[in-house]
């Protein structure tokens, strides 16, 4: 490539780049990792996103009684809010009994939902240890773990939920049939 060709090529590249810039508004700022870490509440079923901390059902009973019982009833039996535990019959009965124990496929969802949304009158009030403890308590009430089992970021995703295989991915199914 001669010097002249090179200059031409260089100018060509610069002008393309300018055009590209004009076609995209690019008005977003770079988001720092620190801020994203603070904002990112998502917890996945394999445990990704779970914070440090731990708790047992024993400790969780106190958290439940103070923050959850008024809406969810004694031992998760349900009141103004959903029944969470103590199913008397199964999913194939009429009506079916949908609780964490009979219906929820992943234990991590309990921690995630409680952290982001509960309690309704003061969301965000529970610290990580309280969240792990109340999650453990709900699993214990449903007969899924023992009372003294320590629930933390490593043990929670390993909890086997009875209805883990209970769901059919309709979106995937329709895509495959297309």
């Amino acid at each position: 490539m001669s010097m002249r060709e090179f200059i031409f090529f260089f100018c060509f590249c610069v002008s393309c780049n300018l055009l590209a810039v004009e076609n995209q508004p690019n008005l977003g700022r770079d988001a720092s990792k620190g801020v994203i870490k603070q904002w990112n509440l998502d917890i996945f079923s394999d445990g990704k996103g779970l914070p440090s901390g731990q708790g047992t059902a024993h400790k969780g009973k106190k958290v439940y009684e103070r923050y959850c019982l008024s809406c969810h009833g004694v031992d998760g039996s349900g009141d103004s809010a959903d029944e969470l535990a103590g199913a008397m019959h199964s999913l194939t009965d009429n009506p079916p009994d949908k609780t964490i124990g009979t219906y929820w496929p992943y234990a991590t969802t309990i921690f995630d939902f409680t952290r982001r949304s509960m309690p309704l009158d003061a969301p965000g009030i529970l610290n990580n240890n309280q969240l792990y403890a109340v999650t453990a308590y709900l699993l214990y009430l449903n007969g899924i773990i023992k009372r003294d089992k320590v629930i933390d970021s490593s043990s929670l995703p390993k909890v086997k939920m009875p209805n883990r295989k209970g769901f059919i991915n309709i979106y995937q199914q329709e895509k495959e049939n297309d």
Binding site: Q24, P25, G28, V35, A81, Y106, R116, P123, F167, Y171
Partner: protein, 421 residues
């Protein structure tokens, strides 16, 4: 000077040709009965409001004081005022657009009053460049407008009950509304963030007290999802997501996340509460349908419907709404004899994809018992099912995604009730 009209029926029971009024020279000659009061009023040259100046200007217009019934009914959790729904009064509305103040609401923990000056939208995860946008920046982006319906996945769920609910159509089916939304195609922002090949799902989060989140396949996001800033020409109302709402045309309401603050690109769904414990449909087998995003073809007659009364025999216009999350409505048929005979209705033009479609058909009521039904068919060939068929496929305990044909029984006194037939 009225001509006698040959009322040509298109189906038994007095359904008339849908284009009846478009035919030149036809005048409907039914003796109109007016009350004594109206006859007396008709003699007055000026009514009281014509004898003095009217009201002054207003900064924001309100409905007539005589339209007090066209309101949302609200149903909230007794222990949490912001946890519940309000319904669009479909029985009081016409056309295809829902007024902003009557758009249905579903909140998980109340309506946040978000200051747009501090609201921010994060895009992160499986992207090469994590980005954050403020509202002033977003308002400079290219925008598109699209009319589409939003329907809660739990709309019409009383239809699963053993006994037909006796309530106005809006308080049974009114968790659906239709607006012209204006905003930024999401693919523009995601292309700027530069998605990695691992990115397959987007976890979408709102900035309300419940920090509600849900996972949406990236394909849908890149296809037709957009960030709405305006609703029917004005900035979105707080109860509908101000200052920023995700619109996923044709997909269940819960994925149209309000108060949008974060888009997390991921290789898999989060399995959040709203895609596992809720918004999944339990089948008689004990298995549950999950990620059932599309709202299927549906229609209902809004007029006449429960709560209306047919006072006189003669002409009525049957009017209703149809919609499908799969695309355009191509046909809506109406029956007045419980489904034995069907007549094709006139669809209001233009018919838009994933939007409310208004259908109308004239009807001559002879004063005999009638059973009204409507049936929608969309461009993919999906036909709205009879209730029996839907229940045979899904059972009665799925709660979400009820789209069966709605039946209104009219007695020989003109009273209207909801029936399963």
């Amino acid at each position: 000077m009225t001509k006698n009209v040959n009322l040509k029926s298109v189906a038994k029971g007095g359904l008339l040709d849908r284009r009846f009024f478009l035919k030149k020279g036809f005048v409907f000659s039914v003796a109109a009965m007016a009350s004594d009061k109206l006859l007396a009023e008709a003699k007055k040259y000026r009514q009281p409001w014509m004898e003095k100046p009217g009201d002054s200007f207003s900064n924001y217009g309100q409905p007539s004081v005589f339209e007090k019934e066209a309101i949302r009914w609200t149903m909230a959790n007794k222990a949490a005022a912001g946890n519940g729904v309000s319904w669009t009064p479909l029985q009081n509305l016409e056309g295809t657009l829902t007024p902003n103040g009557l758009h249905f609401e579903r909140h998980h923990n109340g309506v946040p009053q978000i200051d747009p000056k501090i609201h921010q939208l994060f895009i992160h995860g499986e992207v090469k460049k994590s980005l954050v946008f403020d509202m002033d920046s977003l308002l400079r982006y290219p925008m598109v407008s699209r009319q589409c319906f939003i329907e809660c996945g739990g709309n019409s769920n009383a239809g699963w009950r053993d006994e037909p609910i006796q309530t106005a159509v809006g308080y049974f089916h009114g968790m659906v509304s239709c607006s012209e939304w204006t905003g930024i195609p999401l693919k523009i922002l995601l292309n700027e963030a530069n998605i990695t090949p691992r990115g397959k799902w987007v976890i979408v989060e709102g900035g309300d007290a419940s920090i509600m989140n849900v996972s949406i396949p990236l394909e849908k996001i890149m296809d037709d999802c957009f960030l709405a800033i305006y609703q029917n020409g004005e900035r979105i109302r707080p109860e509908n997501g101000y200052p920023l709402r995700l619109i996923a045309p044709g997909w269940e309401g819960v994925v149209n996340v309000k108060w949008l603050r974060r888009l997390h690109l991921s290789n898999r769904p989060a399995m959040s509460r709203n895609e596992t414990s809720k918004y999944t449909e339990l089948l008689p087998s004990g298995k549950a349908r999950q990620f059932t995003f599309v709202m299927e073809a549906k229609s209902l007659i809004t007029n006449p419907s429960y709560g209306h009364q047919l006072d006189k025999t003669g002409f009525y216009q049957i009017s209703g709404l149809a919609w499908s999350g799969r695309g355009k409505i191509v046909k809506v048929e109406v029956s007045v004899d419980g489904g034995k005979n069907w007549g094709e209705t006139e669809l209001q033009k233009p018919v838009l994809s994933k939007s409310f479609t208004r259908f109308r058909i004239p009807w001559h009521w002879t004063g005999e018992k009638a059973l009204l039904k409507s049936r929608a068919i969309d461009e993919t060939g999906c036909v709205q099912p009879e209730r029996e068929k839907l229940i045979a496929e899904r059972g009665k305990n799925g709660y979400f995604h009820y789209n069966a044909i709605v039946s209104w029984k009219i007695s020989n006194k003109g009273e209207i009730s909801h029936v399963y037939a």
